[in-house]
């Protein structure tokens, strides 16, 4: 049965449409703890103008946000706070780990700095750099938009893949190994 459609009507799937709306209206939650935060502010300011990509509305309440940008090192005292804020955000939500520190601990390989937030939180995109330039963060957001579009947001397809639910198992195992090694070396300088 053929349906006669006028030329100005498009047909798509609902999920595609919803994802298209959502990806172009990301509301970032700025979790800026260090120098990367300055670059994050520059990204939101007029010269680089994050509004061109629909992500300019920074909100300081996790209830109003769907994109957490972790910009800066996270220390062990801050990590429970970060986890709580992440839990308080509503689905669908995404996380960008911005900079070397948030992604790996960076040069701060010390007792108090968490060696990558992805050991304890799901992270969708990483922005490399120390600090990443605003262009780079914008590119990360564009890549994230692509990911949102291809993954869909209505049916929770990101939960289908069991691997994605435990995304950084390898890293976490390595972390445990490291912890065990350190415990062995305990007491030696």
């Amino acid at each position: 049965m053929a349906v006669d459609l006028p030329d100005n009507v498009l047909i798509t799937r609902l999920d595609e449409l919803v994802s298209w709306c959502r990806k172009n209206s990301l509301w970032p939650m700025p979790f800026a703890t260090a120098c990367c935060g300055i670059e994050l502010m520059a990204t939101g300011a007029s010269r680089h103008d994050l509004a061109r990509f629909g992500a300019e509305v920074f909100r300081f309440s996790p209830r109003q946000c769907d994109l957490m940008i972790v910009a800066g090192r996270v220390v062990m005292k801050m990590l429970p706070v970060l986890q709580r804020i992440w839990m308080q955000m509503h689905e669908p939500k995404w996380c960008i780990s911005m900079g070397a520190c948030a992604s790996t601990g960076g040069v701060f390989d010390t007792y108090c700095v968490v060696q990558g937030i992805d050991r304890f939180l799901p992270v969708d995109m990483y922005a490399p750099g120390c600090p990443p330039r605003p262009e780079q963060l914008i590119q990360t957001i564009i890549d994230l938009q692509e990911k949102i579009q291809s993954e869909g947001t209505m049916f929770g397809r990101e939960f289908e893949d069991p691997e994605r639910q435990r995304p950084k198992m390898a890293l976490r195992l390595e972390g445990r190994k490291e912890a065990a090694e350190l415990a062995q070396r305990r007491g030696t300088p």
């Binding site: 007792y111 060696q115 050991r119």
Partner: protein, 165 residues
Amino acid sequence: MSTQETVKSLSQAFGPLPASHFRGQTRVVVPVDRLHEVLKFLKEGRGFDFLVDITCVDYLYYRDAVDRFGLVYLVANTATNERITIRALVNDPDPEAPSVVDLWRGADWMEREVWDLFGVRFTGHPDLRRILLPDEFSAFPLRKDYPLQGRGERHNFPVITRAES
């Protein structure tokens, strides 16, 4: 020079105390059991009304060092702009020093910081809790025998997966 007078008056009141000068700074080492008296004397007798800082040095593995910890008190006289450093050496186990919160209220957080990072206990402190590290932290990380990368504290968190959050 008034700093020399201060040192002289200190040794008149407390007997000879080892003092040294370096680049215009004067340092006096006092035994820890007289520390409170000396600081009280400086504050009430010599007008050192401002406690600039309390900090600590760990001399473990330090060449020729005999004592483990050196407590450093920087005091200043805001009227004459005179400054003096008082050091007291404390040792393992249970390094302890008298609290000076009763002399300078501002010593409260400084002593808590030294306790937090070096584990030097200040007797008579009204509220000796950790100040920077989380309460459940069990080590004193600025001690030289504490490994730089910690003892796994930074890995000791629950993992939140996407399905759980």
